[in-house]
Symmetry: C2
């Protein structure tokens, strides 16, 4: 693991163990260089990642400070790390409902920038938390990027497989969130009443070079909770 | 207006007028310096803001590219610019339902880091879009930061007032989103059925130095749509 990631993990441990709490000032960059026996660029990189992950905030000319601890059990939409990591505190189970190679319809062509002849992996999954239906996911992967999928991968973590086996790292994601109601098929799957309200999260995942490779539509039952970090762009 | 903001506006115009579309490469930094008669730092600042605002993405060693045009009518949670700006294409009206100075309860104390004796501005507003109830907002402002509020300000844009009159610029925001159902009072206000599903958006707005100054709870009727930009932190 690269050094800056080790540093990130150690600082996160301090914050999660409440050894440092909201508003506490982190050691100076020079002190952090000493503590971790690391160069300035490594420390700066670690601090920037910690800021993006909302563990700290940096004040120009003043230092870095611990940010309020995140509420647990919330899905962080600002970070693209896969549901399994977001809900690591819970007993998340994944059941594959469908996996096939299809040709895209217009909606998929628009969102993934593909042609009608391109191959697309279609995946449908049911996620459960502590034995209770949590979400229904329909997801479309561009096969020329995501070369292979099978049931074992799909029932574990696709995100982890992409990272570790295909060396695919998402660069950024667009999320669109609306409120919907379940139809009969969906409510049966989630064991909820027909017409129950759910959150629909549509997401488009892009490679770092801007190529969209995954388009997903996930219906979350009403106990799901989402966290988003906002920024003011005014002075960036 | 600072030069980098002028450059941002001109590039956004090009993208919104579809003169540049998804995947199109922007001129190089050197060319942009010529086109806008600006220094390198100014160009870099403009590009960084455009990336944060999801208009472009930057690929290391390769350049900047136009990102897919955002869907209109979505509230962008990643940018903290106030509902009025997000919904500028619509006819948004704001009615003040309550404005008073109160002492905080435990929930407010926890979220705003204030004492039980601190003064808090409590604001309740009903927002309507094209004459139809859109959201009910209850918002708490730390009076020692937000020194003064009145009906005129509250029915226009509080965000604009903070920026232009009090010189307060939010640094970052934590958003928490859950699904709720309306009670009788709320459903009457929004002219919806009792028990209708709504999105609850809780937000804590922080100054750049990390001080929380506003805590708000907004119920959005079900046509509201939200946009979030996600990042992969893996390689930042």
């Amino acid at each position: 693991m690269p050094k800056y990631k080790v540093i990130i993990q150690k600082i996160i441990e301090q914050i999660e163990d409440k050894k440092m709490k909201q508003g506490d000032k982190l050691p100076s960059i020079e002190n952090l260089m000493d503590i971790f026996n690391a160069g300035k660029n490594t420390i700066l990189k670690a601090l920037n990642v910690l800021e993006k992950q909302a563990y700290i905030y940096q004040v120009a000319g003043s230092g870095s400070f611990v940010r309020k601890s995140k509420r647990s059990g919330y899905i962080n939409l600002t970070e693209s790390i896969g549901l399994k990591d977001h809900l690591s505190a819970f007993n998340l189970e994944t059941k594959m409902l469908d996996l096939q190679i299809i040709k895209p319809d217009q909606d998929i062509m628009d969102n993934l920038n593909v042609d009608k002849d391109d191959d697309i992996y279609y995946v449908k999954r049911l996620r459960s938390v502590n034995g209770k239906g949590y979400s229904i996911e329909e997801s479309y992967y561009v096969k020329s990027v995501v070369l292979y999928l099978n049931q074992e991968i799909v029932e574990d973590s696709i995100f982890k497989y992409l990272l570790e086996n295909l060396n695919i790292e998402p660069g950024f994601t667009d999320h669109f969130m609306t409120l919907e109601t379940l139809n009969k098929t969906e409510s049966d799957l989630l064991e909820l009443e027909d017409g129950s309200p759910v959150m629909l999260l549509e997401s488009i995942f892009f490679l770092k070079d801007g190529t969209p490779f995954n388009y997903s539509k996930v219906l979350y039952q009403q106990d799901a909770q989402f966290f988003v970090q906002g920024y003011s762009y005014l002075d960036m």
